[in-house]
Structures are given as C-alpha cells and as structure tokens.
Symmetry: C2
Subunit: 190 residues, 2 copies
Amino acid sequence: MKQMEEKILREGQVLPGDILKVGSFLNQNIDTEFLGQMAQEFSRLFADSGVTKVLTIEASGIAIAAAVGMEMGVPVLFAKKHRTSNVDGNTYSAKVHSFTHNEDYNVVVSSSYLTKDDHVLLVDDFLANGQALHGLMDLCDQAGAEVVGVAIAIEKCFTGAGDKLREQGLHIESLAMIESMTDSEIVFRS
Amino acid sequence: MKQMEEKILREGQVLPGDILKVGSFLNQNIDTEFLGQMAQEFSRLFADSGVTKVLTIEASGIAIAAAVGMEMGVPVLFAKKHRTSNVDGNTYSAKVHSFTHNEDYNVVVSSSYLTKDDHVLLVDDFLANGQALHGLMDLCDQAGAEVVGVAIAIEKCFTGAGDKLREQGLHIESLAMIESMTDSEIVFRS
C-alpha cells in the first residue's frame, strides 16, 4: 500500500534496536482517515476468505482491528495480556515472549467468544519475530477455529518470520514490507 | 440510547462487586455494527463541540474511540498505562487509582500528540468512580488542552461521580445510565 510506505518515510523514526516509531499516525496518535483507508484495503485483500471474526491482541492492534471489523461487518475479539497464567476452563491462554521487554506474558481469550465455527482474520500493527502471532494462532488452535488470514500494517521482513509463516501456507498481507532500515534509509520490498 | 440499554439487559451480567460484564458486545468481543451506531450517536451528541481530538485510555476504550474518531473525522490519541512513572519531559503523566485491581498506575501520553490547541473529547467504555477520567483530564490540563466533552458507553450513576463532574460544568453523555443493578434487575435513569 503506497500510502503506508509514504507515511512511514514521512513520519516514521528508526530507533536503536530495530524499532520503528510510528506513533504519530498508527499506534498512539491515530490518523483516522488513514485508518479507514487501511481497513478498506484489508477488506479488499481478504474479501474472498470467508472471515467471520477478527482477532487481535491488546493494545496497539485494537484500533486497526476495530476498523477492519466494521469495514468487513464481522465482530472483533481482542486477546488480553496477562502477566500470570489464569487458565480456568473458561479461557484459552497462550504464552508469548516479548523481545522488546524481554519477558513472557500470556494472551487470553474467553472460550465463549472463539469457537470451532470461526474463520479468523488475525490483525496486528507489526509483524516482527512473529511471537504475538504464534500466540494468537495457538488460541485459535485451542478453540478449533480456522485462521484464514493475517492482516499486518507493517512487516519487518528482515526477521524472516513472516516469510517462514507464508511458506507454511498462511495468507499474510502486510501494507508495508520493510527489507531493511537504518536511521538514514528505509528499504521496502518491491 | 435505547439499543445500549437493550443490549445490557439482554447480554450483560452483573457480578459481585458492582461489576457489569458486557464483554460479549462491548469490550472484549465487539459487535462492530453496534459500535458503528454508538459512534454515530456520539458524533451527533458532540457535533457542536468543536472536537479536534479524541482521547482514551488503553485498552477497552480504544475500539470505541477509534470508531468515534473515524465518524467525526478527527485523530484518536490513547494514553498508555504504566506501572511506573517515567516522566522524561517528552510525556505527560498522571496517577490513577484502580478500585478494581486496588492498585495505582500511571497514564501517559507524548507531549507531541496533545497540545494547547486541542479541543478534546474524552472517550471510555465505563464511567464508575471517575478515576480514569480524572487522569485523562489531568493530562489535558498539563498540555493546556481544553476538554470539550466526555463520551461514555455505560455510566454507573449510583457512584455519583458522573453527576459531580456534570455539576462542575463538564459535558458528559452516557449511552446507558445505570441507577442501580443487582443480578436480577438493572434500573436505568429515565
């Protein structure tokens, strides 16, 4: 998506540790006109996927997921992050490692809201090492739900995680795919 | 808003400790068609307020805020929750007490995203004791931004916090106003 690449080039900031700051438009101060355009693009890309539910993870995926869900006319479910694992039979829970904060956390959804009849579109702002995505896929596995696609705003291709998941047959669409980035240059996959 | 009251009566669950569970449609598994209707209603209610920015708090306010921001055509900013206070000159930070978890946390926004030119609509899923709201108002004060309204999905009127803020001149609109609730009956303000 050309507009996403332009936004990143204009407003993004590359920080040490392969961090790309896009808080000015994507995940803290949200440009809602652009958010609507993103949702339309994802809706177009997954129009034939039979999506019945959007699943994301709190907190920065929620706005994108809400916009996509409204555009596609399906419910949006978000997994909560917990420091502790509280599995009580009414929830599915999966462990996720955060490289950014160097700690493990659990993602949790109620088993009432994710079922074997769901065809799930996973949504997140970033795909880097894929840890969060694996957590969400794990929750879907536990529920017997089918993951029919993955919608990502910005993929850091240089980690290889996205391509590995594509090789396994997952349908991933990223609106911007970054091959490399430094504080002076960001190179997108063409 | 009639539909909100109907949704609460149909799907809400009152739990001990004055907790109203509405995860099935509002803040975990989100009914996006209904979310769009809520956004339209808030947009109508604050049409003359000169809103330039929507401000909410992670995580359960984000979907509502995103929908309202898209409907009103203004950016959405969300304050992050931190366990520690990391004020570094580039952020505004305010302490909030959570009665639910009986702990303090800090709400933080970047000073780049909230300025003295902003006319802010605060958005949240619940208004109970008003602690989170006071935190957001504090952030706006620090930025010199003007709070022009407060959009709440469900207000627990029996705490008195909402009415107290109204007496101070704040324009608060709540889509459902609960006067009392038990596990057998929920009474709305008429």
